[in-house]
């Protein structure tokens, strides 16, 4: 992963965001991290970046259960945006849910690279970043 690549965290759990950022620091990842507490805020920022011809995040770690705009709704909006840009963006679901319905639903979105359940092991995080 290039140092110019951005990482995007979308999760309503502030403690999780704090811990993820801490994990990146511990891993020596110095990339820019954008974090949002719901899908709507994240979407707004992504559109802004695109309109300003700035680089979008190359990795999005997305939660499912969030207020205002949840992970699924975000993905629907994201698809519209993604189809208009050439940059490859990998989306990972990071959720506390181990419900089968969520895991199965994630398979219907081709944008999703993988479904990760919390807590995400550092090793897993390293392999995602380095891929």
């Amino acid at each position: 992963m290039k140092t110019t690549d951005k990482i995007c965290l979308i999760d309503d759990d502030e403690i999780y965001i704090f811990l993820m950022k801490k994990s990146f620091v511990a891993m020596g990842v110095n990339n820019e991290v954008l974090s949002f507490l719901n899908g709507a805020d994240a979407m707004e920022e992504l559109i802004k970046l695109k309109n300003n011809d700035e680089i979008l995040p190359s990795i999005i770690l997305l939660d499912i259960n969030m207020p205002i705009m949840d992970g699924w709704e975000f993905l629907k909006e994201f698809r519209k945006l993604h189809s208009n840009i050439s940059q490859k963006i990998k989306v990972y679901i990071v959720s506390s849910s181990i419900a089968n319905e969520d895991i199965e639903k994630s398979k219907t979105f081709p944008e999703i690279v993988d479904y990760l359940t919390k807590p995400v092991e550092l090793d897993t995080l390293v392999s995602i970043i380095n891929e």
Binding site: D13, P67, S96, P119
Partner: protein, 488 residues
């Protein structure tokens, strides 16, 4: 009176004698004065099974099976001089009773009064008639003893026949008596006639139609299964139709009860699934944060960082504790642990709730109107009512619109015999198209408020359900929200 002279041996008389003798109709000639048989023919010999020569000289009275019938015949012949096709029973030589039609004509032979008697054996016809009668009686018995009402119509839609259940149906449901010969449509109100003729039309073309209908009688639903079947004649064209009506109220009732319990089970199952999802999701999210924090704590050397991690750990443990408390709350509601029911003054409880939230109300400069009449009492669990009112009012204040002065109104109305409390606000509103199936779900928040915990509506709904009530929501984004609570 006819005069036949058999004594003169001319051609005509010979012919007449031949006709008499060989007629297929059994014939006897008896003397009026003593009833003695003077002549008998071949056919008479066959039916009575006594040789002609032996019959002659016998009294006719021996042939009658029943004395009273003979007496009637005698009376009638002496009054009217003739008898045509009267049914009687005769007894033959084998002592068998034979049903006959007898015709008697007074004649004179050689100046003496005689009776010419002709018989028609109808015993076979009688047997057939009896068999038909028996079979009709059997059918009638079945027809009358079924639970199903039947009315038979001809092709002109006139009633030919009906059974008892059908006439009971007509008097009970339409207050009308059924009469043979009346038209189908006259039993129904004018407005139904066109509809009915549309039903009957295909039946007269040979189709069978059926449907289920209910009639409301004294507020009760009476369900009927109604069927129209065409009746075909030998040429396969429709001669009429049969209308059958079966009372299926009991079956329908148990169907409805079954559906209700299915709904209940489905609802409970849904709640259970939601609950297990929440338990799994929320407990796991706190637990995973704890694991991550502890992992960092283990490796952390800086005291300052350690302290900051400890603050986070405390926060997580506090949230976990709160989650457990909420889950326990939900479990106890669902297990119906707290079911004390008291008569509570609704208006008073609303005022109490307003007083409790006084600080929050003033902070938003909100107007809260309690329009509930002070004489309305409800039978409810006091803790639940308190919690429900507090929750809905808290929500209404919390999600008020910054663009206008918040107005929250409590009102009651009567709906389907139950009391309904509506709590309406002019706040932010909820996009129900998006969130409708989730609004009463656990930990669902819609506005991104920092203090929105998403547990309130879930608990309120559980409490309302536990009190066998209902809660509905209507809302429009940027306009406001109305919650309606129906008490049992």
């Amino acid at each position: 009176m006819k005069t036949v002279n058999f004594s003169e041996g001319n051609e005509l008389e010979n012919n007449l004698e031949n006709i008499f003798n060989f007629s297929p109709v059994p014939l006897l000639i008896t003397r009026i004065k003593d009833g003695i048989i003077i002549m008998a023919n071949d056919s008479a010999e066959k039916i009575i099974q006594i040789k002609r020569q032996d019959l002659v000289g016998q009294p006719i009275s021996d042939l009658y099976a029943y004395e009273n019938e003979r007496q009637l015949i005698l009376d009638e012949i002496s009054n009217y001089g003739k008898i045509l096709n009267r049914e009687i029973s005769i007894r033959n030589a084998k002592n068998e009773i034979i049903s006959c039609l007898i015709s008697i004509e007074k004649i004179t032979i050689n100046g003496e009064g005689m009776y010419l008697k002709g018989f028609t054996n109808i015993s076979e016809r009688k047997l057939m008639e009896a068999a038909i009668q028996k079979s009709e009686d059997n059918l009638r018995t079945v027809f009358e003893n079924t639970e199903v009402g039947y009315i038979l119509f001809n092709q002109f839609q006139s009633i030919i026949s009906y059974n008892k259940p059908a006439s009971l149906f007509a008097t009970k449901e339409f207050n009308k008596e059924i009469h043979v010969g009346t038209n189908f449509s006259t039993y129904f109100p004018e407005i139904m006639r066109e509809y009915l003729s549309k039903i009957v039309e295909p039946v007269l073309k040979g189709e069978t139609t059926s449907f289920e209908r209910f009639i409301i009688h004294n507020g009760e639903h009476h369900w009927y299964y109604v069927k129209f079947s065409p009746v075909f004649n030998k040429n396969q064209s429709v001669d009429g139709f049969i209308m059958s009506m079966e009372n299926i109220t009991e079956r329908k009732k148990s169907d409805i009860a079954l559906n209700k319990s299915l709904e209940l089970v489905t609802e409970q199952n849904k709640r259970l699934l939601n609950f297990s999802y929440i338990v799994s999701h929320n407990l796991r999210s706190h637990a995973s944060n704890m694991i991550s924090i502890l992992n960092f704590l283990e490796k952390e050397k800086s005291e300052q960082e350690k302290a900051s991690l400890m603050i986070h750990l405390k926060k997580v443990s506090h949230l976990l504790n709160e989650t457990l408390y909420n889950l326990n709350e939900v479990v106890s509601i669902q297990k119906n642990l707290n079911t004390t029911i008291e008569s509570l003054n609704l208006s008073e409880y609303i005022n109490q709730t307003i007083a409790v939230l006084n600080k929050e109300i003033s902070a938003k400069n909100a107007i809260v109107e309690n329009q509930v009449s002070s004489n309305i009492n409800i039978n409810y669990n006091p803790a639940y009512l308190e919690s429900i009112l507090l929750n809905f009012l808290t929500n209404a204040i919390k999600y008020s619109s910054p663009d206008r002065q918040p107005l929250i109104q409590f009102k009651t109305s009567s709906k389907e015999g139950s009391l309904e409390l509506s709590i309406s606000d002019n706040g932010l509103g909820i996009d129900l198209k998006k969130y409708h199936d989730r609004i009463f779900g656990m930990y669902k928040t819609f506005h991104g408020n920092k203090d929105a915990r998403g547990i309130g509506l879930f608990i309120s709904k559980n409490q309302i359900d536990a009190m066998e009530g209902k809660v509905e929501v209507s809302s429009e984004p940027h306009k406001g929200t109305t919650f309606k609570i129906k008490f049992k």
